[in-house]
């Protein structure tokens, strides 16, 4: 019998914010570090109550909180969690203590504001995944930008200002479009309620414009080819913890938004433009992988690999069947764990060698075998080795995609080969071969210590757990996904809706779609 906590979601969301304020107030770096880590850890433990109290088989929102916020526009403070958002919340609360712990070990410059920003970021990210009101969603979505902007701009590498501004302007410009679309939706459907909007059946034109605006915002965030170029810059310049969170969680706000908002609110448009998105996703898979192969900077390589991996996630979503979408939801978590771990490993090496250039390494397996062992497992998880987490997601995504349009699955399968190419190439240059530089030999380089292993180990154990027992996750994800696929007819049978879409083409179908909206 699990204990139930009132206002659980609000607690999870705002505990980090409270922590952020306290961190600023508390004197002494050491106290700040312990406080920040403690708060993030407590948040994680509290978030586990979601699992303990979870109602299996339930498709609807759970732990719902709903109070009026701004009555004149019927904006509400509404939070809730379902199978789609559950593990994204847990991913956030899990990665954050790890990222903060890493920062505590290695960041020495203005640690107070740094940690406060990290915790502020956590609140924003959790808020995005829990918000059930469009305005609330948008507030959190935008709020996440600011801490990350400062984390990159203030604590980043040499070219940090350019990267931070690019990150901010690019994603901000895209979400400015979303504001317009949100108002469009509100005036058309009369509500900001995300759950209610799922069955809104908006008029065709509204759907089309709304979908394009939302999809663009999320495409930049994800990032989908060709909107990805801010990502390598941001990653290369960001401090390690920033990269872990950026890749691990922040990018999922794009794919999550696409799944939670763009697809169900504008189902017809999503079905019609699905092939376009799928094409970009598949280009991203292949292109991201090929560019990754050629990278000399490990962080840049992992950044491009994220473009490829999130291409898979988008492909699964666009497939619009339960297998593809559930796979994509799990793959969001997988990518967060695997790529988060990759950035963590890269960060550990950077703190030792103060370089990330592949050519500066070589033969590390001689000097730091434990590190190289962990790196290999993480790389294999990222490469989708069966038995580990990444495979389950990729396989179900491609299976879903095959049932959508086979050609996309064929091309995505090629991406599986390329993934092995860039990861093994990186591993070859880093771990294998001879030691060519004295800085890399046993005398100069320390292997991972207990604290560092403790950071990576939980992630690695999860790789195996998800890889071997994915149904623990699917059991909770599936009901919500299946309900969603069932609730919006366009998703269950994309080909059937093509016929309807043909009647109501983009330019000429406004009258007909207006009829539809009238029901």
């Amino acid at each position: 019998m699990a204990l139930s906590i009132p206002y659980l979601l609000s607690i999870i969301t705002f505990l980090p914010l409270l922590g952020a304020l306290l961190v600023l107030v508390v004197p002494g770096d050491s106290a700040k570090k312990w406080l920040a880590f403690g708060v993030s850890l407590v948040t994680f433990v509290v978030s586990l109550a979601l699992l303990l109290n979870w109602q299996d088989g339930m498709a609807e929102m759970q732990f719902v909180e709903d109070v009026s916020w701004f009555a004149p526009l019927s904006i509400r403070y509404a939070l809730g969690v379902d199978g789609i958002s559950l593990f994204l919340v847990l991913l956030t609360t899990l990665l954050m203590p790890i990222a903060i712990y890493f920062s505590n070990l290695f960041v020495h410059d203005r640690i107070g504001p740094y940690l406060a920003l990290m915790l502020l970021l956590e609140t924003a990210m959790i808020g995005v995944f829990l918000a059930l009101d469009l305005v609330l969603f948008f507030v959190f979505f935008e709020a996440s930008l600011i801490p990350m902007y400062f984390l990159i701009g203030q604590w980043g590498g040499q070219n940090r200002v350019y990267a931070a501004v690019k990150f901010f302007v690019y994603t901000f410009a895209a979400s400015a479009l979303m504001v317009v679309a949100i108002l469009l939706v509100y005036f058309s459907a009369g509500t900001f309620d995300i759950v209610a909007l799922q069955g809104a059946q908006l008029p065709q034109t509204i759907q089309m414009w709304g979908f394009i605006a939302f999809a663009l915002a999320f495409a930049v965030k994800t990032p989908l080819f060709p909107f990805h170029t801010w990502l390598p810059d941001a990653h290369v310049q960001a401090p390690t913890a920033g990269s872990i969170i950026l890749a691990g969680v922040l990018l999922k706000m794009g794919t999550y938004g696409y799944l939670r908002l763009a697809m169900p609110i504008f189902p017809d448009a999503a079905a019609q433009l699905g092939p376009v998105v799928a094409t970009l996703a598949v280009i991203g898979i292949l292109y991201g992988a090929l560019v990754a192969v050629m990278q000399k900077d490990v962080k840049s390589l992992v950044a491009y690999s994220s473009v490829a991996h999130l291409g898979y996630v988008m492909l699964g979503l666009v497939a619009m069947n339960a297998v593809g979408i559930s796979g994509a939801v799990l793959q969001m978590v997988n990518h967060g764990l695997s790529t988060g771990a990759l950035f963590l490993m890269v960060g550990l090496l950077y703190e030792r060698r103060h370089t990330r250039m592949l050519d500066d390494f070589g033969g590390l397996w001689h000097s730091i075998p434990v590190y190289c062992g962990f790196f290999l497992v993480v790389a294999m998880s990222s490469a989708g080795l069966p038995g580990l987490n990444g495979f389950v997601g990729e396989f179900t995504i491609m299976l879903g995609a095959y049932n959508y349009m086979p050609i996309f699955a064929v091309l995505a399968a090629v991406g599986v080969i390329l993934a092995a190419w860039y990861l093994l190439t990186a591993y070859r240059k880093m771990a294998q071969g001879e030691i060519t530089k004295p800085e890399n030999d046993k005398a100069h380089l320390k292997d991972m210590n207990f604290k560092e292993v403790a950071m990576v180990l939980p992630l690695v154990l999860l790789f195996f757990f998800i890889g071997l027992f994915p149904n623990y996750f699917f059991d909770k994800i599936n009901p919500s996904v299946e309900a969603m696929v069932g609730a919006t007819p366009a998703i269950v049978a994309p080909h059937a809706s093509d016929a309807a879409a043909d009647d109501a083409t983009f330019t000429g179908g406004s009258s007909q779609s207006a009829d539809k909206g009238g029901h």
Partner: protein
């Protein structure tokens, strides 16, 4: 007993975990024995399962045990389940039996290796993955093992990851190549599964077998063609065989275990396991037959000219795998498994013999520097000779019966062209087998320094040689044309194979005998006696020399057509297209809006006002829209 089938996996898993976590505090011998005992225990389990299975009536010899539901979404579901039937248990016995012997041998072979812990960890992990591969009851479970053994292979080929030489280049690169080439096949395997699930609604072998006949031919052709591609990767067939010769960079026990006896036969296993699909697509089956037999032939031509003993054996393995693949596809799946089992013994024996030579000569494996070693290493010599006789198809040894079963099966199927290529290949096989023996062990020493230092190895290495030699002779007797015990037992899994008529059988046996004995004679006359006629005969084929030296140019063609263009495209993407074109466009847009420097200042001074203004602008636009649209 079937309740305890999980022990089959538990033992190697436990061995691997013990070595991983406790290895640093244990000596090389203890780690080696832990690993060996883990595999031998699994062998015991496999034998017990075999006995339990044998005790059942023939039609009941198929036991499925579901451990848990692996992944389930809507109507898609795959269990983590094993299928215990004659085929899988036969494979498990070979994997753990031959594997166990090779583990023990490795204790002696790797006695000077400082990273023994890692070596035995990899070996146990390999056995675990291989058992998952053969025991799974569905395509996806097999795929777990399929990629798992690939990972083990990658790690073990590149075991000496800091080593390079003229033969292999960087050893680590050889491992990488193996993994990547295999991944090409794996991608095809994935696609085959997508088609199977989408058309059958299940990935379980039994369900697929039941429904296969209902599928449209096009679907079946796609499935089998994709599986063929997967098989050609794992079992080193044309066009994906190129990784195997370089895989010899790995320690020799690895070559014996993974790249000869077990992993590379996974493709053959897959074809036999899915035999019903191939029966329904005779066109693809014929194609596979041809690919197999031509791979067998061309690999044999290359085996004849190799000077590295391990490379002779590597090409020989490709060649023998070609026989298996051909037989598996062309209506003789039982025979395919028969030669698979026989080959596992005699090829493991030959590789371990080669390893014994390497161990005694401090790594010299170039036959041009060997010779006369029979005096120094009599036990290795005799056992190696037995292995070569089995490989060369000398009558009464296992290889003879196995090859005969394959060729007779192919001939009985009416595929006489394939059969005749098979016979020519058999001749080449006999020649290169004995060439390897004679150049290494007979004649006079060609490098006295090497010769002087050579010595016979300890019992821990020689013992496994004798055991393997014993089975290389006798394993064939379980399946002579007159008492097909093994094929009968397997038929519950493979379906009943047509019996070859007595007349045809006698013709095939006679031809096989003549061919193998002529090969022996030729090798003897040329490499021991140096008789003139052999050179004359060889000179007829001198025009082939450049092609053989360049391995039929296949690697070069791949390099020119695939590898380089792809790298060039990737390089252009990374250096020009991404930074200049895509990012250039992004930056240009940024420049048009505001001067970049100014943007920095504006943002740093007042991100929030800009932001508020944008939202305000958005609201206005929407309001205008509704006012005018409404």
């Amino acid at each position: 007993m079937f309740d305890y089938a999980w022990l089959l996996f538990a033992f190697p898993a436990l061995g691997a975990l013990i070595i991983l976590f406790l290895g640093p505090w244990l000596s090389q011998k203890i780690v080696g024995w832990i690993a060996s005992l883990a595999v031998l225990s699994a062998f015991g389990v496999a034998l017990a399962l075999f006995a339990s299975l044998y005790a059942l009536p023939e039609e009941a010899r198929s036991i499925t045990i579901t451990y848990w539901e692996w992944m389930t979404i809507a109507n898609f579901s795959v269990p983590a389940a094993v299928l215990i039937d004659p085929l899988s248990i036969m494979m498990a016995i070979v994997v753990t039996g031959v594997g166990g012997l090779i583990h023990i041998y490795s204790i002696g072979y790797m006695d000077h290796e400082p990273r023994y812990q890692r070596f035995f960890f990899y070996l146990n992990f390999f056995i675990l993955a291989m058992l998952i591969l053969v025991m799974s009851n569905n395509f996806l479970g097999t795929f777990v093992g399929w990629e798992g053994v690939g990972l083990a292979s990658y790690l073990l080929i590149g075991f000496w990851f800091a080593k390079r030489d003229d033969q292999y280049g960087w050893y680590a690169d050889a491992g990488k190549k193996a993994f990547l080439v295999n991944r090409i096949g794996d991608a095809a395997y994935l696609l085959a599964m997508f088609i199977i699930w989408s058309s059958v609604g299940s990935l379980t072998y039994a369900v697929v077998e039941e429904t296969a006949a209902l599928l449209p031919t096009t679907t079946l052709v796609f499935i089998t063609l994709l599986l063929l591609f997967a098989v050609s990767g794992k079992s080193a067939q044309f066009p994906l065989y190129v990784w195997l010769p370089e895989a010899m960079a790995g320690p020799t026990p690895v070559s014996a275990l993974i790249h000869a006896a077990t992993m590379v036969t996974a493709g053959v296993y897959l074809i036999v396991r899915t035999g019903h699909l191939w029966d329904l697509t005779p066109i693809v089956a014929q194609t596979v037959g041809w690919i197999g037999i031509l791979t067998a032939f061309f690999a044999a031509t290359l085996a004849i000219v190799q000077v590295d003993l391990k490379k002779i054996l590597a090409y020989s393995t490709i060649s023998q795998l070609g026989y298996m693949v051909a037989a598996a596809a062309v209506g003789a799946p039982g025979s395919a498994i028969f030669i698979l089992v026989a080959h596992a013994f005699f090829k493991a024996l030959l590789f371990l013999g080669a390893g014994s030579v390497m161990h005694a000569t401090d790594g010299v494996i170039d036959v041009r520097r060997l010779g006369g070693l029979r005096h120094k290493m009599p036990q290795t010599y005799i056992t190696f000779l037995i292995g070569a006789m089995a490989l060369g198809g000398i009558p009464l040894l296992s290889g003879f019966w196995a090859k005969d079963a394959v060729l007779a099966g192919i001939a009985a199927d009416g595929a006489f062209l394939i059969y005749s290529v098979g016979v020519v290949t058999a001749l080449l096989t006999a020649i290169y087998s004995f060439r390897a023996v004679f150049l290494t062990f007979n004649g006079k020493p060609r490098d006295m320094h090497v010769y002087e230092h050579a010595h016979e190895n300890k019992l821990i290495m020689v013992g496994p040689l004798w055991i393997l030699a014993f089975f290389s002779i006798t394993i064939g007797w379980f399946n002579t044309p007159f008492a097909l015990a093994m094929e009968e037992f397997l038929s519950a899994s493979t379906g009943h194979q047509e019996h070859v008529g007595l007349f045809l059988e006698l013709v095939v046996v006679t031809i096989s005998t003549i061919v193998s004995l002529f090969g022996l004679l030729y090798a003897w006359a040329r490499y021991i006696r140096g008789e003139h006629w052999t050179l004359t005969l060889a000179s007829w084929f001198a025009w082939l020399q450049p092609a053989l030296d360049n391995k039929w140019y296949v690697d070069r063609v791949y390099d020119a057509v695939i590898v380089r263009p792809l790298a060039a495209v990737a390089g252009w993407f990374a250096r020009v297209f991404d930074p200049k074109v895509i990012d250039g466009a992004v930056n240009a847009v940024g420049d048009v809006t505001v001067d970049a420097g100014e943007a920095v200042r504006k943002l740093q001074n007042g991100a929030i006002p800009t932001y508020a203004f944008s939202i305000f602008l958005g609201v206005v636009v929407v309001l205008i829209y509704f006012i005018f649209a409404g």
